[in-house]
Amino acid sequence: MSDVAALELRDVHVTYRTREGPVPAVRGVDLSVFAGEVVGVAGESGCGKSTIVSTILRLFPASATVTGEVLLGGENVLTMRWGRMRAVRWGVASVVFQGALHSLNPIQRIGTQLVEPIFLHDKLATDNSAATKVRTLLEQVGLPARHADAYPHQLSGGQKQRVMIALALACDPQVLICDEPTTALDVMVQAQILELLIGIARERSMAMLLISHDLSVLGTSCDRVAVMYAGRIIEHGPARAIFDWPEHPYTRALSSAFPTIGDAASRYAPSGLPGDPPFPGDLPSGCPFHPRCPSALPVCPTVDVKLLPAGPGRTAACVLVDQSVPTR
């Protein structure tokens, strides 16, 4: 493993300009992913994890202001010239979007869409070499080569997701970002897709960022997990540790919201969280989680907590973790 992170976010802030005022979707995120690692990002909708995805390849809308640094192999994406940006897109890092929806052009054949990035990034590609590459890609994701002639509406959800994965691998990127790759899929298909993704990432020693609202998905397949809430990472550490011994009350609630297979008791008493995640434009004072926190203390609405050490290789943004802050 080299000492330069394949993907690194340093103090990234993303604010959207809206008619009702500025909305801070991401409020200071630091994250790094090294080659060969699988890092997961968990959180409910509105926590900012999808916004993070849009910053890595500079795909955010013009109404968004992004500060901080987003580094791919040491190069800052936010200050690149556009020519370099277009080469980096797909060539250095690619995104596996949710294929089940409309991420594929409905009136173009699968093969045409797979070949497109190949021609964009390889000036020497010929029709033949590209077609061969497409066949190989389809094989790698477990699809028969004849699917290259199909149209998106002729494929099932699982097949479309595989196509999205094949598409993401088309230019042999070093970084793979998976944005909710298993949502909207049947449970059995979910497991297959996940297995496929992790397998490919490990085989090619890619750096993989896996984004999901399903903590159980991340707990089993990632090396490290970062949990996001209200635009910030509120817990970070080895996946297994986070899943089994969550330190932050939010992570605790998130992991216990999913019943564990095999544990009959958990099925009958799923613990949910009261309330909804806060709207980014209207955050509570102090720790943004305090209105819903079962362990909230009087000090919580007053103090905005940063990530504090919470064990070996772990951090959590909660006063309960920090011995130095008085809890009375």
Binding site: L57, L59, M85, R86, A87, V88, R89, W90, G91, S94, V95, F97, Q98, L101, H102, S103, L104, N105, P106, I107, Q108, E116, P117, L120, H121, E139, Q140, V141, G142, L143, P144, R146, H147, D149, A150, Y151, H153, Q154, L155, S156, G158, Q159, R162, L167, V189, Q192, E195, L196, I198, G199, I200, E203
Partner: protein, 348 residues
């Protein structure tokens, strides 16, 4: 290892449809066949409608022919017999000759079809020129305005197109005559305002073609301006609808330049509803031809319609109405086929 397992899994994935090559073409053929049959059904309805429409007339139908000198009393008696026969008998006679090819115009005394034939080509020239200009320019403006929604180009072009959309095309024609035919103030009166070609010139000669063009410019501009505006608004709306689609994000993420994303992905998808709507509105452009030809005394089918209405020549009106309606039906069928060729979702 993971890949092998994935292959096994994928093969057991339930496929909704087998994408076979032959299936695609077969699908298109079947679709065209179905569409033609449906078109036939519409045609039957239109024929029925046309028949009954012109049987609601007040007064003695034969009386109108009295004004025409060139019909002999024997022919007049025959016409009266035809027009006063019981309805079912009339209907049978109608079905044998719905276009009333043998029908005698009560205004000119000539067979209706002679009149229609003679006036057809100017209208084709006019509508052909108008449609090409209106579609090409209108769609281009719509694409640019929709893709760059909110830009200055968008705001200005939308305002201008809305203005032209609200304009009666015949009034625009009158204005153009005022400015460029009669000439007023410092506007040159250089274009002719009547006819389609100067008399005595062979239409197929070079002189003839320039003369035709000279006479067609103003009416074509009057029609094209209004319909260009409509097509531009339609295309813009379709583009705006496509803007939020996820597959455009995918295309951009692949490293494609903005104008290529627009050209290769957004425009083809946005053209689908546009084509449908443009063809659906062909009826309006035909209607526009009626008034514009009248204003410019342009001797086409439109002017013929006006004359038929003014002279209350119902036989001629019936034939013209059928011609117009059938053209629209044919264009609708063409539109559906074009869309089926572009959009694979419809064929399978």
């Amino acid at each position: 290892m993971a890949v092998a397992a994935a292959v096994r899994a994928a093969d057991s994935d339930p496929e909704p449809q087998r994408p076979a090559r032959g299936g695609q073409q077969g699908g298109l053929g079947r679709f065209i066949g179905y569409r033609l049959v449906a078109g036939l059904g519409t045609l039957v309805f239109v024929l029925l409608f046309n028949f009954f429409l012109f049987r609601m007339l007040p007064g003695d139908p034969a009386a109108r022919y009295r004004a025409v000198k060139s019909i002999s009393p024997a022919d007049l008696a025959k016409i009266r017999d035809e027009l006063t026969a019981p309805l079912p008998q009339q209907f049978v006679a109608y079905l044998k000759d719905p276009l009333a090819l043998d029908g005698i115009s009560s205004w000119k005394g000539q067979p209706v079809w002679d009149l229609v034939q003679g006036r057809a080509w100017p209208t084709l020239v006019l509508l052909g020129a108008t449609t090409i200009v209106a579609v090409v320019i209108g769609v281009w403006i719509g694409i640019k305005a929709g893709w760059n929604r909110g830009s200055r180009f968008d705001k200005v072009s939308t305002a201008v197109t809305l203005l032209f959309y609200a304009t009666p095309e015949f009034w625009l024609g009158l204005l153009l005559i005022l400015l460029f035919s009669t000439g007023i103030g410092f506007f040159p009166g250089i274009f002719p305002s009547g006819g389609v070609i100067d008399s005595g010139i062979d239409p197929l000669s070079f002189e003839g073609i320039t003369s035709i063009a000279d006479h067609t410019v103003l009416p074509a501009v009057a029609l094209a301006a209004v319909y260009l505006a409509e097509y531009s608004l339609i295309m813009r709306a379709s583009m705006v609808d496509e803007l939020g689609q996820d597959y455009l994000m995918t295309a951009r993420a692949k490293g494609m330049m903005d104008h290529m994303v627009r050209r290769r992905h957004a425009v083809p998808n946005a053209s689908l509803p546009t084509i449908t709507l443009i063809f659906l509105n062909i009826g309006f452009i035909i209607g526009g031809a009626i008034t514009v030809e009248t204003v410019f005394s342009y001797p086409g089918l439109g002017l013929l319609t006006f004359e038929a209405v003014s002279e209350q020549d119902y036989v001629l009106m019936q034939a013209l109405f059928l011609v117009f309606t059938m053209s629209v039906i044919v264009f609708n069928i063409i539109a559906d086929i074009v869309i089926a060729v572009i959009d694979p979702r419809i064929r399978t």
